[in-house]
């Protein structure tokens, strides 16, 4: 039975997989697949455009997600050529799995910032204000990088937060702040910048002690080692760095 059913099941999956790759064939002959942390969405889309403009015949495919999800996907065989992580912990996982081609290089930094709804209805001015009884604070869960950073700021500031919700991602926190459900949330400075006028940012003096570093690396066994290296060069070079600076990222 197994001998008959498994091929049949694969027959069901194979055409789906085939039509997926057909759709994405685009203009290029070579495809470079870049897995990047969700916070890099806007910047890496720009960098990918620059890359495609400068490299005829190379098609860049971007996949964004939580860094730990992305590492898990790559370890499970996802076809990534380049991986850009939002923290060093998740990059270490890839390195320990022996799936990094060379040493990861730091290309950007990010610091936590408070986001409040437009007009700042709860009058939040500092991290200390977040501990107030009437302030509804939403943070990332301690298990995800932005939550760990928030916890660190709280420790440095000597404040105990009582969040009304511990969200799974920066997007979830921003959503609750932008809709006015929450009075304040803690996210990264680049997230506040990217959200435009949906939220206002309040800088944290404590944040320079809680700097998050973004490393990037080519994935071991990539089919496109040369484009992968050139993509790394672009991110680490002047063009890439300028795009990242414009979005609020810091220099490593």
């Amino acid at each position: 039975m197994r001998r008959l059913l498994i091929p049949a099941l694969l027959a069901l999956v194979a055409p789906l997989a085939a039509c997926g790759s057909d759709d994405d064939s685009g203009s290029g002959d070579t495809t470079l697949t870049v897995y990047a942390a969700a916070s890099l969405t806007a910047t890496f889309e720009k960098i990918a455009d620059e890359f495609e403009a400068a490299h005829d015949g190379v098609d860049v495919k971007l996949s964004f997600g939580g860094s730990s999800d992305l590492v898990a996907q790559i370890q499970n065989g996802a076809p990534a050529d380049v991986f850009a992580s939002a923290d060093t912990e998740n990059m270490d996982k890839l390195v320990e799995a022996g799936m990094a081609d060379g040493d990861p290089q730091d290309f950007a930094t990010n610091v936590p910032e408070i986001a409040v709804p437009p007009g700042n209805p709860a009058g939040v001015r500092s991290f200390q204000d977040l501990a107030g009884q009437d302030v509804k604070v939403v943070v990332c869960a301690p298990e995800v990088p932005c939550g760990a950073a928030t916890q660190e700021v709280a420790d440095k500031a000597g404040v105990t937060l009582h969040p009304v919700s511990e969200e799974q991602s920066v997007t979830d926190v921003l959503g609750k702040v932008a809709s006015g459900e929450a009075d304040a949330g803690v996210v990264y400075v680049t997230d506040v910048r990217a959200a435009g006028d949906q939220v206002e940012g309040i800088e944290l003096p404590e944040s320079d002690q809680v700097v998050n570093t973004y490393p990037i690396v080519a994935v071991e066994g990539t089919d496109a080692p040369d484009p992968a290296q050139e993509f790394l060069d672009l991110v680490l070079g002047d063009t890439g760095q300028q795009i990242l600076r414009d979005a609020g990222f810091g220099r490593p």
Partner: protein, 255 residues
């Protein structure tokens, strides 16, 4: 009689549905299984899920039974459209339901001001979880009960009425007992849907241990740090789902 070749695609479909479940069972870390599902966070999530799903099911019975009665036993212009609209959460992506609820019951939502005047804070509370679950589960009860009502027909109701029973007595003593199996299986399905609710809850209610973090949210969260625990809790939900389907079948077959 069916053509023999139909068995092949049918079998592929069955394997497609069952193989992932087998994969979960195969991936479970049995040595630590009990420890994994009895951590404080897991117990909080399970208890919260059971409590909120039970309340949501009660609300579904309370409002869904009359809704099914109106749809099955009356006719008025626009009834078809109304039925389709009421059943919308059945096909709506749950995250869309969550956004809709947010802009209804949220602080700045349609009813936000009224709720604030009444001193009710829905956002980030267990109430929000129950609302999200009720929203997505209600159509399950309505559909299954309306079907049962139509199948049961009105013969006994007409007889009871001709013998002098008032409409409320007929509803209580004739209609409800007659469709009880349908009602039970509808309630079980609604409970199951409430238990599995994820998208509307995370969008509308948030996620905090013991308050809004139900079992599916806990699993989603654990994936990040403790895959073994996430898999173990997933198996718990699979087992609950299997039990629920067993119950629902029982209810239907005795109809």
């Amino acid at each position: 009689m069916i053509p023999r070749w139909i068995l092949v695609p049918a079998a592929v479909g069955v394997v497609f549905v069952l193989l992932p479940l087998v994969a979960i069972v195969a991936r479970v870390d049995w040595a630590d299984f009990l420890d994994l599902i009895t951590s404080q966070a897991s117990k909080d999530a399970l208890w919260l899920s059971l409590r909120t799903s039970a309340i949501a099911t009660l609300l579904c019975l309370l409002f869904g039974t009359p809704m099914a009665m109106v749809l099955a036993r009356t006719s008025f212009p626009g009834q078809g459209v109304l039925r389709s609209l009421v059943l919308l959460p059945l096909v709506l992506p749950p995250v869309v339901g969550g956004i809709a609820l947010l802009y209804t019951f949220g602080r700045r939502g349609l009813l936000g001001h009224e709720l604030e005047v009444l001193g009710l804070e829905v956002a980030f509370s267990t109430t929000a979880v129950v609302l999200a679950q009720t929203f997505v589960a209600l159509p399950f009860l309505v559909v299954s009960l309306e079907g049962a009502l139509r199948t049961a027909g009105q013969r006994y109701e007409v007889v009871a009425a001709s013998l002098g029973a008032g409409p409320t007595t007929v509803f209580r003593r004739v209609t409800l007992p007659l469709v009880l199996p349908g009602l039970v299986s509808g309630a079980v399905l609604a409970f199951a849907r409430a238990l599995g609710e994820f998208g509307a809850t995370i969008t509308f209610a948030g996620s905090l241990q013991g308050v809004t973090r139900t079992l599916p949210l806990e699993i989603y969260q654990l994936r990040e740090t403790d895959v073994d625990a996430a898999v173990a809790l997933s198996l718990v939900l699979v087992v609950v789902a299997v039990l629920v389907i067993g119950f629902a079948r029982q209810g239907r077959s005795s109809l």
